[in-house]
Amino acid sequence: MFDYLANPTRFMRLADYTVWPLRLIAAAGLLIGSWLGLASSPADYQQGDAVRLMYVHVPSAWLALSSYLMLGLASLFFIVWRHPLADIAARAIAPAGAGFAFLTLVTGALWGAPIWGTWWVWDGRLTSMLVLFFFFIGYLALANGFDRPERGARPAAILAMVGVLNLPIVKFSVDWWNTLHQPASILRSGGMAIDSAMLWPLFTMFAGLQAFFLLMVIQRMRLLLGQARLARLADQQEAS
């Protein structure tokens, strides 16, 4: 399957079919999710309406983590098989992933300020999430910091792979160090610890943001492939 999809033209032809479905799922998920999250879902019995920050904070955090895993895998494929499409995929993932990591930190601070009484603590979860954000920024800086983008591809991919070591720290930090951040409520042993009235807005927002993320990755891959093609065409015309 990887061999089949590793051909950029073939991959992009398949990707074309996903663009409109993803646009629709993203728009519908975000609209319905916003209505569910902001209007129709109940306030929390302890936190009141501040709990509504969960519906942007938690999906952002899931996407920051899963997109970093994708960035690490794409970088591994690029280092091992040296396939340029893997580098293009990684470059397309990083901007959206960095944005979600940033949103996780900011919405977390906005949630923490009224509920914990502090914007920030240097506990395991918050600190490892900040480190994740810095890995995204470092990747973007290395990948785009050279005159010829292909020169930055290898160092950026190696940095991305090192950052994968941080992912289990983010995930299990809440179990290893028991501080302000609560442990997992959804992906935990013993079943979910959340009422369905709050689970639906959460999953709808997640579906909308996930579709948006995949759409951005596909469109940015097309953008990067098109830019490379334009540069090749310009070279050819100069040469002729």
Binding site: D49, G99, F102, V106, L110, M216, Q219, G226, R229, L230
Partner: protein, 60 residues
């Protein structure tokens, strides 16, 4: 309606968090799609130029 915007006193936090999320989504979406559309029209005109150039070139 005023109660909806007040969010039980947490309005500033809730609306800032949701607002930033929305701004990020809209900006990245718009930025990506407009750049892609521009690039595709550039590629289109390049392809057309290439064709006319190729006609004027002597046979290799």
């Amino acid at each position: 309606m005023a109660g909806f915007f007040a969010m039980g006193g947490y309005g500033a936090f809730v609306w800032t968090g949701w607002g930033l999320t929305l701004v990020f989504v809209l900006l990245l979406w718009l930025h990506t799609e407009t750049r892609l559309a521009k690039l595709q029209s550039q590629l289109q005109s390049q392809a057309e130029n290439g064709k006319t150039d190729a006609k004027n070139l002597p046979e290799a």
